[in-house]
């Protein structure tokens, strides 16, 4: 596994890991987006046999990221769970129990449809639309017009669109990779869950993007 890459925003240091997580050095925070936990279970409950190992591996990846970075808090910018409660969430709760000292902030995404009590019981701090912390703002949908108008001053971290970038070579070849995408006033994190689709983005002048290619992370813009 390649070492994380450093990206500086407003004099803060963020480490981008090919494990699809971002570590904020100054605040000792681990930031992730779009985990979609319970998605395989949701499909399976409907008779569609998606292998559950995807979910198991996602959870393990999160655990090892927490063990590596030893954050004081975990910030989730939405879509922690894919749909309604199912047995797969019990496995998540078990993990949560083992790490009960870790503070978790969840900014709710469009998929987070569980009742608020559920999150409270699991020991999350839930934020309905956004959470402002230090000079930064955490929210789910970067295109949400209500929230965007208020965020011009602060820098935001978002998710929702599962960004990917297509790299083209000569002879009309192209490959597609999930990516971290940094715009002027906000960034979009890659989806953490592996059982998720992606949406192609095209960086403009002055923006940055880091592609996740297997075990590597590469700055491409």
């Amino acid at each position: 596994m390649q070492q994380p890459l450093k990206h500086i925003i407003r004099e803060n240091t963020f480490w981008l890991s090919p494990d699809r997580v971002m570590y904020w050095e100054e605040e000792k925070s681990l930031i992730v987006a779009d985990l979609h936990f319970g998605k395989t279970g949701h499909f399976r409950k409907s008779g569609i046999a998606i292998p559950q190992n995807i979910y198991k591996e996602d959870l393990q990846r999160l655990v090892s990221a927490v063990q590596n970075f030893k954050p004081q808090q975990l910030i989730i910018t939405g879509d922690l769970f894919h749909s309604k409660a199912n047995k797969e969430l019990d496995l998540f709760l078990k993990w949560r129990n083992d790490l009960s000292s870790l503070k978790i902030h969840l900014v709710k995404g469009n998929h987070d449809i569980l009742p608020d009590e559920w999150y409270e019981k699991a020991g999350f701090e839930v934020h309905q639309q956004k959470w402002e912390f230090q000079d930064f703002c955490f929210m789910h949908d970067p295109c949400d017009p209500d929230q965007r108008s208020k965020q011009t001053m602060t820098y935001s971290f978002t998710g929702h669109i599962h960004p990917a970038i297509s790299l083209r070579g000569s002879a009309r070849q192209s490959l597609r990779f999930p990516c971290f995408y940094f715009k002027k006033n906000y960034s979009i994190l890659p989806a953490f869950g592996k059982f998720t689709g992606t949406h192609l983005i095209t960086p403009e002048e002055g923006e940055s993007a880091y592609a996740i290619a297997g075990n590597r992370i590469i700055q491409v813009a």
Partner: protein, 866 residues
């Protein structure tokens, strides 16, 4: 004891009725009737339009009359007697009409029913209460019937299953559906009667008739009878000799036509041949030559290979001949079904002057007013061309005429080859599909939602079909395991639910799962489709989501021959307004593109050889250039051949041409095997892989039916020293599997398999919303299965299908063997040649790389531009 047909009451009554109509049965019909009353099964090989429907249907009536000689007229509600499986919904109504005519003429109390996707719910429940004696059904609807509680009883009185147009079903997954349905019906019927079930197929001529019969009757475990009618001309000649009656040409029963024998093919030649044949441009340019043909004929069918092109043609025809508005119609799979019915009705009644259509009008009863058929673009195979030519209702003693209109000039070569192939009666075979686990999984779920199934019993039935005869007990166990416990799981954290074990059988009890499954029954997988409606109400048709997603509100597009302005998407419905704009975007549909058949490819290569010899004569004596050839197509192509010869080479039958050309795009390698798109796709992957073993190099591919192209950013190391090795059939399987691992082929196959096997829920157009959290893309599913459950049966099947159908492995192997025995000619033209142009413009490209991912990424980054 065999009862001679002519001594039976049924025969007497049926022939009396026929005589009263001034008709007399054909000999192949009587042959079939005899077999039917003997309780036999078999296959009737007869061309369309000479009474093939009546061969089996009247046989069934004769059988019934013989069983009830005293009260056959009075008997009603006799239960289902004849199940008539037909591949096309459009056929059902016409077949029912022909049958009802006979039933009324015989004053019998039989009823006919139609059951397909268009059947109203009220009619369905009426049928459930009282089955008609004859039920005309599609394979999909038959499976839906098996999803109905208490279905077994419906078949208790059934005598005969007829499978119409078996040549169309064989070789497709719909054919497998038919095989499975026959095996199940036979199995559940056994609890009511000891009488053997009879199965009769009806088929046009195929290269493998005996195999077609064997596949169909495999569940009955018997050999069966083959009834061969011969060509139409033969049928009628024989009939005339024996008949003292005058033929009544008005009746569909004895409509007079010829197919194959006595057919004239005329190519519509451009005035000037383009030396560089850009694909897809020429067709429309020839429209002014089409218009007089339409004007001089009663009704003309214009067959276009793609729906997108058919929209364009329809528009252009209207632009050119505004006076024909209302007399020209458009017919393809995305046109609203009411409109399609209207078109078919008006074709029958002769009110239409011309219909622009796709394969949607390939099958079925003929439209009598149709005098002329125009085929635009390559029909890709001999059988398909014959089928389309047969749509015209010419009198049997004159020759039928079909026009061939090329879409690029090289297709004229194909026209010349088609003529040769038809004169030799060189018709393609259809290979039956085997071990289609996706269809089996769907079928097992289907019978699990109705009455459940006993795995031991159903295993016996399933393995009686041709498709699954080689399935091992182990594979069966894995399928049952997959659908009952859902593959890899985390035991106590799993909610998987589908099949449940209950009193010795597997059942699906969850109503939602059952409902979703019913919606998903079928093996024709389309792209995600959206309904198109006017803002003010009114349904236009359906359209691919992919196409709409690229439009902005205000854009104009064409659907069902109308120019529409895109307003918005609401509730998964595309809302549009009428538009009078002149310019519009024509949707592209991802229809199944047929590859050139092996038969046609072979004749094509022979045809090129004759060009070659002409060229030599012409070379020594230029005055012969325009007079030598007897083929107008080859004559027309002489300028193109001349340029090809000058820049490169024209390969003979026993030669393979390779061209290496450098352009600003990079280094091109063109190879010309003339083996069809699928084999070329496989050969391109194979060649790219083998070259890349020698030196790290990355290619993109393009291919068409004549040739394929490898394109790289560096010179391609293919020369006399390694070329035979690169095309060697040795280690074919291993190399192919390695080469396609890094391509998209299996992934593309997987989409259909995953939908059929129930891993992707498609829903109906406009209904996706309800299942939002169950949406999933095939490529994502393919990736996660490859990573987390590589042994998954459906995943494996996608690789098998790639080998057998996509790669056409057997044909690929034959091709490589042929190449080993031929002379490989490598040329280095200084510019693009006429032969390479069509493939050059083909945009279908695939990646294959042996360079390390990192190297490749680095290389790309260097070239990457924002």
């Amino acid at each position: 004891m065999i009862l001679p047909l002519k001594n039976t009451e049924g025969h007497r009554i049926v022939t009396e009725w026929l005589s009263s109509q001034k008709l007399q049965p054909f000999s192949f019909q009587e042959e079939t009737w005899q077999y039917i009353i003997d309780g036999k099964s078999g296959l009737v090989n007869a061309p369309t339009g000479c009474g093939k429907t009546y061969s089996v249907f009247l046989g069934s009536l004769i059988q019934f009359i013989n069983l009830h000689p005293d009260d056959f007229r009075k008997r009603k509600n006799s239960g289902l007697q004849l199940l008539w499986i037909t591949p096309l919904r459009a056929l059902a109504k016409d077949i029912a009409r022909a049958m009802e005519e006979a039933i009324a003429g015989l004053e019998m109390n039989w009823k006919t029913g139609v059951r397909n996707g268009d059947t109203q719910t009220a009619e369905r429940s009426r049928q459930k209460k009282q089955m008609p004696e004859v039920l005309i059904i599609t394979p999909e609807s038959l499976h839906l019937l098996l999803a109905q509680k208490g279905y077994a009883e419906l078949f208790s009185s059934l005598k005969i299953i007829a499978v119409d147009e078996w040549h169309e079903l064989l070789g497709s997954k719909r054919g497998v559906q038919v095989e499975l349905a026959i095996s199940r019906i036979r199995g559940c019927r056994a609890q009511f009667t000891n009488e053997p079930l009879q199965v009769w197929g009806i088929s046009a001529t195929l290269g493998n008739m005996e195999e077609a019969l064997a596949v169909l009757l495999s569940p009955l475990n018997q050999k069966g009878k083959m009834v061969r009618a011969g060509t139409k001309k033969e049928v009628y000649k024989k009939h005339y000799a024996a008949s003292e009656y005058k033929l009544n040409a008005r009746r569909s029963f004895l409509k007079k036509e010829t197919v194959g024998e006595g057919m004239i093919i005329e190519s519509i030649l451009p005035d000037e041949i383009e030396k560089y044949p850009w694909a897809g441009h020429l067709g429309i340019k020839l429209i002014h030559k089409v218009i007089p043909i339409i004007r001089n004929s009663r009704t003309t069918l214009i067959f276009i290979n793609t729906r997108g092109m058919s929209e364009t043609w329809y528009q252009k025809l209207l632009d050119e001949c505004p006076d024909l508005a209302g007399a020209i119609a458009l017919h393809h799979g995305s046109v609203d079904r009411e409109l399609r019915y209207w078109v078919e009705e008006n074709l029958h009644s002769g009110k239409l002057k011309a219909v622009v259509c796709t394969a949607s009008l390939d099958l079925g009863v003929d439209f009598r007013p149709v005098e002329t058929v125009i085929q635009v673009g390559s029909p890709k195979g001999v059988a398909r061309f014959l089928q389309r030519a047969g749509r015209s209702g010419h009198s049997y003693d004159t020759d039928s005429k079909i026009y061939f209109l090329p879409t690029h000039s090289l297709e004229l070569l194909e026209a010349a080859a088609l003529k040769t192939a038809i004169s030799r009666n060189f018709i393609e075979s259809r290979m039956p599909m085997v071990l289609c686990y996706d269809v089996l999984i769907q079928f097992l779920n289907t019978i699990a939602i109705s009455d459940g199934f006993d795995p031991g019993k159903v295993f016996q039935e399933v393995s009686s079909t041709y498709c699954f005869k080689d399935m091992s007990g182990d594979e069966w166990d894995r399928i049952i395991h997959f659908i009952s416990s859902g593959g890899n799981a985390l035991q106590q954290y799993d909610d998987y639910k589908k099949l449940e074990w209950e009193n010795g059988s597997y059942k699906i009890n969850d109503r939602h799962i059952a409902r979703r499954h019913r919606m998903n029954i079928g093996t024709i997988v389309s792209e995600a489709m959206l309904k198109v409606k006017y803002v003010g109400g009114g349904y236009v048709g359906v359209i691919e989501e992919y196409f709409i997603s690229r439009l902005q509100p205000g854009d104009i597009f064409t659907l069902a021959g109308r120019n529409l302005e895109f307003v918005m998407i609401k509730d998964m419905t595309v809302l549009v307004k009428r538009s009078s704009a002149k310019r519009s975007i024509v949707p592209s549909w991802f229809g199944g593109r047929m590859p050139l058949s092996a038969n046609l490819g072979k004749v094509l290569r022979e045809t090129l050889t004759s060009v070659k010899s002409e060229k030599q004569i012409f070379g020594s004596d230029p005055t012969l250039s325009n007079t030598y050839s007897e083929s107008p197509e080859l004559n027309a192509l002489l300028p193109l051949f001349e340029l090809q010869q000058q820049l490169s080479y024209i390969p003979k039958e026993n030669e393979l041409l390779i061209e290496q050309i450098e352009t600003e795009d990079g280094f091109h390698l063109f190879v010309y095997p003339f083996e069809g798109r699928l084999v070329h796709e496989a050969m391109a992957a194979l060649l790219a892989y083998r070259i890349s073993l020698q030196t790290p190099i990355t290619f993109s591919f393009a291919m068409n039916d004549y040739s394929f192209e490898l394109l790289s950013d560096r010179p391609v190391p293919v020369d006399d020293s390694n070329v035979y090795e690169l095309f060697s059939p040795e280690n074919l399987m291993e190399d192919i599997q390695r080469s396609i691992n890094s391509t998209e082929m299996a992934k593309r196959k997987f989409r259909d398999i995953a939908v059929i096997g129930g891993l992707i829920f498609q829903g109906f157009p406009g209904e996706q919303k309800k299942a939002r959290h169950l949406q999933n893309s095939a490529s994502l599913l393919f990736n996660v299965l490859s990573e987390y459950e590589p042994e998954n049966l459906l995943l494996r099947q996608s690789y098998t299908e790639v080998m057998e159908q996509q790669m056409e492995e057997a044909r690929l192997r034959d091709t490589l063997k042929r190449i080993q025995g031929s002379k490989i000619i490598i040329r280095f033209p200084q510019q693009l040649t006429p032969f390479c142009f069509p493939v050059k413009v083909d945009s279908m490209r695939e990646d294959l790389s042996s360079e390390k991912l990192e190297d490749r990424i680095n290389k790309m980054i260097m070239q990457y531009e924002i």
